[in-house]
């Protein structure tokens, strides 16, 4: 029980990557066209964080895992129907706006306030997990801001691996430039870990885990508090789709030798 951890995973929901996205401007600022009807998934890197957290909790008996997620209740419920079947968790939903355009500082303030108020949370054993960047705003700042607000000054971003030692300290691999990892050793919790891909495959759906999770998820969703996000002086001058559409030349009738010759000439051309 020496390494029983309290792991809080912050994870948003994002449009399914295969969906076509079109920006629109409404009375509250930019958003996505038909945003509320686009199929949503758990943010990919945050999902990696969730699976790593669950694996870590399973290896350390007595640990507890919370999933804190901010989004419209209806969308959270839809996404949780799948996520809940993956790993045992306690959902802490916050009813708020969806998408990448709200300010990250406001999002972080709401998340930090919620985490600080979690019943039974021991901050001395807290590992705060999340994706190092979201697939919406992609700023890579929210988790860091939450950590600062909670007073955690051991933070790691782009994490691909954590090895917890018996004494509670851990080794962590962070992505740095040039395809390398920085290896650090931290004395132990509390710490913030913004995950990249990690090393774990997506867990298979487990209906038993799903049924167990849903017993607490549905009441939590019903009781989710509403959060309003301030703009913090952020304004959007323009929001648009990239205009560049290439005129593709499709080559169907060349032999491998001819294609290779053309490619080698292209590679050598400056």
């Amino acid at each position: 029980m020496a390494n029983a951890l309290h792991i809080v995973v912050c994870a948003g929901i994002v449009p399914d990557p295969l969906q076509t996205l079109e920006p629109v401007t409404g009375p509250t600022g930019p958003g996505l066209k038909n945003e509320m009807v686009l199929p949503a998934v758990l943010d990919p890197w945050a999902a990696c964080a969730l699976y790593e957290a669950a694996a870590l909790a399973a290896k350390n008996p007595g640990s507890k895992l919370w999933l804190v997620s901010l989004g419209p209740k209806a969308k959270l419920q839809q996404v949780m129907m799948t996520v809940a079947q993956k790993v045992p968790l306690e959902l802490v939903p916050i009813d708020g706006p969806i998408g990448g355009f709200p300010d990250a500082h406001s999002t972080a303030a709401v998340l930090a306030e919620t985490i600080a108020a979690l019943p039974g949370l021991d901050k001395t054993t807290l590992l705060l997990f999340g994706g190092w960047e979201s697939a919406t705003r992609g700023a890579g700042v929210t988790l860091q801001l939450v950590g600062e607000r909670l007073g955690i000054t051991d933070q790691f971003q782009g994490v691909d691996q954590i090895d917890l030692r018996d004494d509670g300290s851990f080794e962590v691999l962070e992505r740095v430039e040039g395809g390398k990892h920085q290896l650090s050793v931290c004395a132990g919790a509390p710490a913030v870990l913004g995950w990249a891909t990690g090393n774990l495959a997506e867990p298979r759906n487990n209906p038993q885990v799903g049924m167990s999770n849903m017993r607490t998820i549905m009441p939590a969703l019903q009781k989710a508090r509403a959060a309003k996000l301030d703009a913090n002086g952020l304004s959007y001058v323009s929001v648009s789709l990239p205009k560049q559409q290439r005129t593709t030349r499709v080559v169907k009738d060349l032999t491998p030798d001819e294609i290779a010759a053309e490619l080698v000439a292209w590679i050598g051309a400056e």
Partner: protein
């Protein structure tokens, strides 16, 4: 009036500035000139002397945080250093390179200073104000943002400005004292493939992306993963290209399928991977759907080899698509490149 601070840091030598830092200096000089604002440059390094000398010709005020504690990237020390530099400069606008080192701490420092941060900035515009361009939804939507609150931290993506290259000279440095917190993290070093096995080369002119088709069954009904690996590595060796991969190909290792052993998640390009900057990109055995192609946003000249004439690349995402089997084509490409070298 704005008060502009450019943050820089040393590379692994501990004294020379990183290329991304020098690019940010260029951006700072341009912005300071446009806004007629005073410019301060802050340096975080084990030894800031040579870094400061390289910046002497900027004419900017130079602040530095130096010492062994700052030779390595670590949240507690870097956040304290950057906070001290910002307070010493009394900056309203802070420009910093979007390096792993500063990306790790910039938001935290902004919070300590009651400021705000925006990252992945690709350009700075505006007339009397500052308007910053950045991408949302993994390079699928572009926006121009502004803030009327200060201090405002802006982290610039690498490759968006030319690196500053002024004459070296004698510079006056103001050392800034930093009160360090108790340190609980020790940086042990780096893990990377051996030099000749490193397939991620950010400075390469060309990107080769390998898709899942390389490890699918070929016309003879067999999988030729070993041959695929040889072809890909042969191309990288002949051209010096950087290697990217689709998520599906990297994931195959975790699913017990044939894999290319030199690929890791670090090679991933796209929705859950990186968005590198190279002049040219060649996609092989990848279907070119949106989750992959969002990682190609900053690849200027794009070609693809695909067996599918209706693949995503043909829908305005590549300049040229060769409808062909990549195995014989890449074998011949490698042979021609080797012959040219000989």
């Amino acid at each position: 009036m704005e008060n502009l601070l450019v943050l820089t840091h040393a590379d692994e030598t501990g004294s020379a500035l990183t290329r991304a830092s020098l690019e940010t200096v260029t951006a700072g000089l341009e912005l300071a000139a446009r806004l007629s604002a005073p410019l301060t440059i802050g340096i975080v390094a084990a030894d800031s002397t040579s870094a400061a000398a390289a910046l002497a010709s900027t004419g900017a005020r130079l602040l530095a945080v130096s010492g062994e504690a700052f030779s390595q990237a670590r949240y507690a020390t870097d956040a304290a250093a950057v906070e001290a530099l910002c307070r010493a400069a009394n900056a309203t606008i802070v420009l910093a390179p979007g390096s792993s080192r500063f990306t790790r701490v910039a938001a935290g420092v902004a919070h300590r200073l009651s400021g705000f941060v925006d990252t992945h900035i690709t350009s700075l515009g505006g007339a009397d104000t500052i308007e910053a361009s950045r991408w949302f939804y993994r390079q699928r939507i572009e926006a121009v943002v502004s803030r009327n609150v200060r201090p405002w931290f802006l982290l610039l993506d690498a490759g968006t400005h030319t690196a500053f290259a002024g004459a070296s000279g004698t510079a006056k440095i103001e050392e800034v004292a930093v009160q360090l917190p108790a340190l609980r993290t020790t940086v042990s070093g780096f893990r990377a493939p051996q030099q000749d096995q490193q397939t991620i080369r950010p400075d390469a002119k060309m990107l080769l992306v390998a898709g899942a088709g390389w490890t699918k069954k070929q016309p003879d009904g067999q999988i030729h993963a070993a041959e695929a690996g040889e072809l890909i590595l042969g191309f990288l060796g002949a051209t010096g290209a950087s290697l990217g991969s689709s998520k599906s190909l990297v994931d195959q290792g975790g699913e017990g399928n044939s894999v290319l052993p030199f690929l890791t998640h670090l090679n991933q390009i796209g929705q859950t991977g990186s968005t590198p900057r190279h002049a040219k990109g060649l996609s092989t055995c990848c279907h070119g759907e949106e989750p992959h192609v969002v990682g190609w946003r900053f690849i200027a000249d794009r070609r693809a080899i695909s067996l599918d004439p209706n693949c995503g690349w043909t829908r305005g995402k590549a300049d040229v698509v060769y409808v062909a089997d990549a195995f014989p084509v890449m074998a011949k490409v490698n042979a021609l490149l080797e012959a040219a070298k000989a």
